[in-house]
Point group: C2
DNA sequence: GCTGATCATAGGCAGATGCTTACGATTGGA
DNA sequence: TCCAATCGTAAGCATCTGCCTATGATCAGC
């Protein structure tokens, strides 16, 4: 057998990342899904909740209580969409952005350490290649 | 924001891999965990069930019915360990190895296709780097 | 104007998951 | 020799997950 399956290799990396991220996120009072929502909203400030659910790969019926929690903490707001009164545009608040950036700083530091087993060139190659596989 | 989180990137790749693998494994009558067990046994023929559970990251109390199913299909056997009558050495049968290799062939073909967006050099770099991150 | 589709929301359901406890058989060290 | 630890097994529990249905408000096309 020349090598492990890609699934096994990527799976083990993801496992490590999750194990390392969980305590960092917990320290900021966020779950993985909540962090995922905040991250996506920072990129795409406004859209329907359904689109948000699809974008992060979360169940739309389960997204509602998750957004309730984040809105209750003042990290995001649901605004009526003037063009479509059925839809609610979801937007990060300044508090939400601050919380996201504080958590992200810790996560980035963890990632740097995890990547430090690779040379700078290897890191560049990896980061160039991953988005193309993730498409 | 210079780039996505590693967790998001690796997570999306794993999501793609799982989505592509599931139907292939199903065609061979295997779940992801069963495939994982067979794969690991092909590398390490004998060991305790607990070590097997730890090696593939599966709950040891949930491994038993999974092994029952695979043994029931004749893909593996539990043999008494003469040196330690508490322990059961788990070993692939020829049928188990054949089933594994048939499934693996399909999965490898899928992986080739997925990797084909990368140049040969990029594929080499990626495959050299992944095991070091997966440690 | 009416009808079917869309959106947010609520609720339920089956299965998977991680974790814990218990128990009988067996082992190894005090 | 006896006691604690280990192994396989069984069972239970809270939670997460994907999926499916329903409902009220709103929209868009006929």
């Amino acid at each position: 057998m020349e090598r492990d399956d890609l699934g096994a290799l990527f799976g083990r990396v993801v496992r490590r990342l999750i194990a390392a991220e969980r305590p960092l996120l917990e320290a900021h009072g966020l779950t993985m899904w909540e962090y995922s929502v905040l991250t996506h909203l920072a990129k795409q400030p406004t859209e329907t909740q359904q689109a948000l659910a699809a974008a992060i790969g979360y169940d739309k019926s389960r997204l509602i209580p998750l957004l309730d929690g984040l809105a209750g903490q003042g990290l995001l707001v649901r605004e009526p969409d003037p063009a479509n009164r059925r839809a609610h545009a979801v937007r990060l608040t300044p508090d939400g952005l601050a919380r996201l950036e504080a958590a992200r700083a810790d996560i980035r530091a963890m990632e740097e350490e995890l990547l430090s087993v690779l040379s700078a060139a290897e890191q560049r190659h990896l980061l160039a290649v991953l988005p193309r596989l993730a498409d």
